[in-house]
């Protein structure tokens, strides 16, 4: 997959490096702003009160 992306990116070595960084940045942005916040409630780190029913509304 990574070798295919590298081969497909245009612009010679500078263009490939630039394209790779842009793709990496987009991936990180997607992970940190969309994926991780969406996954977080599925994990138990946020359960700190007793009886969630008392406080969740």
């Amino acid at each position: 997959m990574y070798s295919w992306i590298w081969r497909t990116l245009p612009g010679g070595l500078p263009g490939k490096l630039f394209g790779s960084l842009v793709l990496l940045a987009l991936l990180l942005l997607l992970l940190f702003t969309v994926v991780f916040p969406a996954v977080e409630p599925l994990l138990p780190f946020s359960d700190v009160t007793v009886d969630q029913a008392l406080t969740d509304s």
């Binding site: 992970l31 780190f45 700190v48 009886d51």
Partner: protein
């Protein structure tokens, strides 16, 4: 044929490594990035709280000060923990929804307000979102916890801690553990998750009011500001 196998194995290896890196990034997000969110919220809450305290609203007089209530999501008090070295104060928010707790430790609505007779119950994160209650497993009986409200410095002395099931709502009763009992004392209950990174149990720290100072008299001697 061996080329196909080689390509498939390489694809599998790359996929697994990518997933591993994503999981590590998720740890970074939970343990670090969420703390940045909370730090920003705390700054905002602290500014709002100080502004509202500076507001020349009618100040309760006499020996029976009326506690100041707040809307959900707003700051109600500042939590100091002299029992823990280098503990930075936290603005306590009203409410313990997921969103409220992202801003800081939360006061369970309906439990006593700081300064009221009864049980003040605060909940906070132990590992993420700034982890205000991270070191609460180290709290020992006799240690001090201070709540700063608009008009009072309320000093509570820790009486003990316990590990309970997540369903143990009796710790939030006005008299902890006694359903329907009429409270005569001011107590403080702090709850967080236990063990760390788990939701299997809750750590409960109990404390009882031992000093109630007027704001004008300055902070308690034990508090190093």
């Amino acid at each position: 044929m061996s080329d196909v196998v080689r390509t498939a194995l390489r694809g599998l290896g790359q996929t697994l490594m990518t997933l591993g890196v994503i999981v590590l990034l998720f740890c970074v997000y939970e343990l670090k990035v969420t703390g940045l969110v909370t730090a920003r919220e705390q700054d905002r809450l602290g500014d709002d709280l100080r502004a509202s305290w500076a507001d020349p609203a009618p100040r309760p007089t006499g020996a029976d000060p009326v506690p100041v209530s707040s809307d959900i999501g707003e700051g109600i008090a500042v939590l100091h923990v002299p029992a823990l070295a280098d503990y930075d104060p936290w603005v306590v928010v009203e409410g313990t929804s997921v969103a409220d707790l992202k801003a800081g430790p939360g006061h369970i609505p309906g439990t006593a307000l700081p300064g009221e007779v009864g049980n003040v119950v605060l909940s906070g994160h132990r590992t993420t979102y700034g982890a205000p209650f991270e070191r609460f497993g180290d709290l020992q009986p006799g240690g001090l916890v201070v709540l700063e409200t608009r008009d009072r410095w309320l000093t509570y002395t820790i009486t003990g801690s316990q590990i309970v099931a997540p369903t143990a709502i009796e710790v939030t009763y006005p008299v902890p553990g006694e359903q329907g009992a009429v409270p005569t004392e001011q107590v403080l209950t702090l709850t967080t998750c236990h063990p760390k990174y788990s939701a299997r149990q809750r750590l409960i720290v109990s404390a009882t009011l031992t000093e109630d100072r007027d704001k004008a008299d300055g902070p308690p001697a034990e508090l190093e500001l």
